[in-house]
Amino acid sequence: MSLLWLPFLPLAGALLVVMAGRLPNLREALSLVTAAVLAALTFSWYPAVTAGETPTVVLFDFLGSAQLAFSLEPLGLLFASVASGLWFVTTLYAAGYMRGNNEAHQTRFFTCFAIAICGAMGVALADNLLTLFLFYELLTLSTYPLVTHKGNAAARRGGRIYLGILLGTSIGLLLPAIVLTWVLTGTMRFEPGGILDGQVSQGMATLLYLMFAFGVGKAALMPFHKWLPAAMVAPTPVSALLHAVAVVKAGVFSILKITVYIFGLDFAAQGDITRPVMWVAAFTLIAASLIALTRDNLKERLAYSTVSQLAYITLGAALATSMSVMGGAMHILMHAFGKITLFFCAGAIYTAAHKTLVSELDGLGRAMPFTFGAFLIASLSIIGLPPLGGSWSKWYLMLGALDAEQAIMMAVFMISSLLNIAYLLPIPARAFLFKPPAGSPIGLREAPLASVVPLCLTATGCFCLFFLPGPLMALLSPWNDS
Amino acid sequence: MQTFLGLYNFWVVIVLMMIGFYIVIAHDNLVKKIIGLNIFQTAVFILYISAGKIQGGTAPILGEPGAVYSHPLPHVLILTAIVVGVATTALGLALIVRIHEAYGSNEEDDLLVLDRREDSP
């Protein structure tokens, strides 16, 4: 099978969804089948990539000598797997959620969702900066209708911030950074070892790195993080897409990829090239966690948690050691599973109990044991406690900090983990340990099966990831020094 | 004599252009603007005439049978430019007539006030 199937299968899926728009069952079935096939196709590349191959396809010359081209390397395969695998789960969940809440414009929803996956796959497989940028923007635009799905004033405002920040940073910083790279080096390809080494001065490299890091607005480095909480107005499956499946992951993945294949770890580690971004990431990490503590709205708290977790990955990239990069890459996967579970839970809570505030959840755990159980597992994974997947990535990140001799960053990771505990654990704790407030409706039950099954699946995933690091290590072996 | 003429023409051109341009800019009355425009264009015709003078070249009217149609170049240029100018003036006046019908005024200030009044309610 050609590599081209990966980015363009979702597009075909989108087309099928549009055509089946009148028949909801068929529409969702098509969505699911496409997602399943895509995931299977993606996994099928695992052996080749693990064996060290880099399959490449050139579509055509896009801008003069710059090409629209795809290639599959380990980081890309990891991200592609996350996106395609979770697309399936999210589609399953969305089918239940959208019907359960009688949402309008369901066809549009599934169509845009599929296009967004196309964007994510394109980002994952991009062979050069230009291709990455093209699909990055496609991802932005296709998710805008999802963010503004409800169409009311709040959705409009959220959409405005979403589009404003993401387009603004990408056109204002990312594109100029790409142009600059092209002008300075004459290439835009992602090459092992990077392309900038020896071509640019350290000062220019520092500037470029800053431009890339902030230009990738999807990575939500402060102060360009506002779009993420603003996008909370969207339906829960969309939040899952944004926070776990595609959008933010595309952002941090881009930073990782740029660090590894444009700057090259050796070059990036020289001098102070990544230092400013490191500090910004560290600040974001702590600040977002602190803000999350103060938020009572469940989804908002989760959003700030995401900002903070993304900063882990960015920080991993900025540390520019093999360990930290591996940790960052793993965290893409681990956080994806954790966060998607949390959002599914939030959605399930909303569907079943119509609760959105943390303070309203007292005692709900008894009525919804599966949901809150999953919530607890996912929280622990994100905090980084064994025996859950999240512990691996945090471990490697800390090793990376140690490798880079950045003791302060080490401390930052630790403090942040404590803060994670402080804003995440109280939620399941209140649900299970506190008494329900007087006068609360009796007979509350779990959300419909279509909602509960996916969240159980992903929570199980968090668990399994801890015990199955082998394949992951094999995939990331280029950075596996230990 | 020729350089003198040339110089003279040059200054006349400059002065006429200034006057014309001033009228176009300074006057609110649309008709006066058109008049200013005409003066402005006349300056150019004079420039072209002096161009012809400097070149001194007026081609013969009746050439060899093979090249029957040969013009003294600058004259044709001036004529064409004048035609363009007349056409512009005619169109401008036609517009003024229609503006007067639609607004009841030829003063640009009045027209802008009327437009703004239309916007405000």
């Binding site: - | 009217i61 029957v68 003294p72 004259h75 004529l79 035609v83 036609a94 007539v97 019908e101």
Partner: protein
């Protein structure tokens, strides 16, 4: 100005002379400066004089506005059509050599046709403009 005896008498005598002069200029374009454009202006001027003295309505009766439309468009067609004919004959646009076996005669016919086209158009356009202008004050 119908009651303007002098103008009326003078105009009645002048107009045919002006028109024939216009046609003279039209068809002698290749022997002197002038040709279609001047001829068109003069021809139109003759009719404008008539309209000034006897009224635009009278002029419209004698030379209806429809004619002007046909005149101006037909002129362009004649002008461009002559060029197209020379193109069809394999020569460049407006290369009159194509119009007759003998190049000189070809040029001659070509110039006459093209100048006539120009004259028609100029007359038509000027008169159309005059009709529009002159008719306006009274209509509304």
């Amino acid at each position: 100005m119908r009651q303007h005896t002098l103008l009326r008498v003078c105009t009645r005598m002048l107009v045919p002379l002006i028109l024939i002069f216009a046609l003279y200029v039209q068809f002698h374009g290749d022997y002197g400066p002038g040709g279609g454009f001047q001829a068109g202006v003069i021809f139109a001027a003759g009719i404008v004089l008539y309209a000034l003295v006897f009224g635009v309505e009278a002029a419209r009766r004698a030379v209806p506005a429809t004619w002007l439309r046909i005149l101006s468009a037909g002129g362009v067609l004649l002008f461009a059509g002559t060029g197209v004919v020379s193109m069809l004959a394999g020569h460049n646009f407006l290369d009159y050599d194509a119009l007759a076996g003998d190049p000189v005669a070809g040029q001659h016919i070509g110039i006459i046709l093209v100048e006539f086209g120009v004259g028609m158009t100029v007359t038509g356009v000027i008169l159309s403009f005059f009709y529009v202008f002159a008719g306006r004050g009274r209509r509304d």
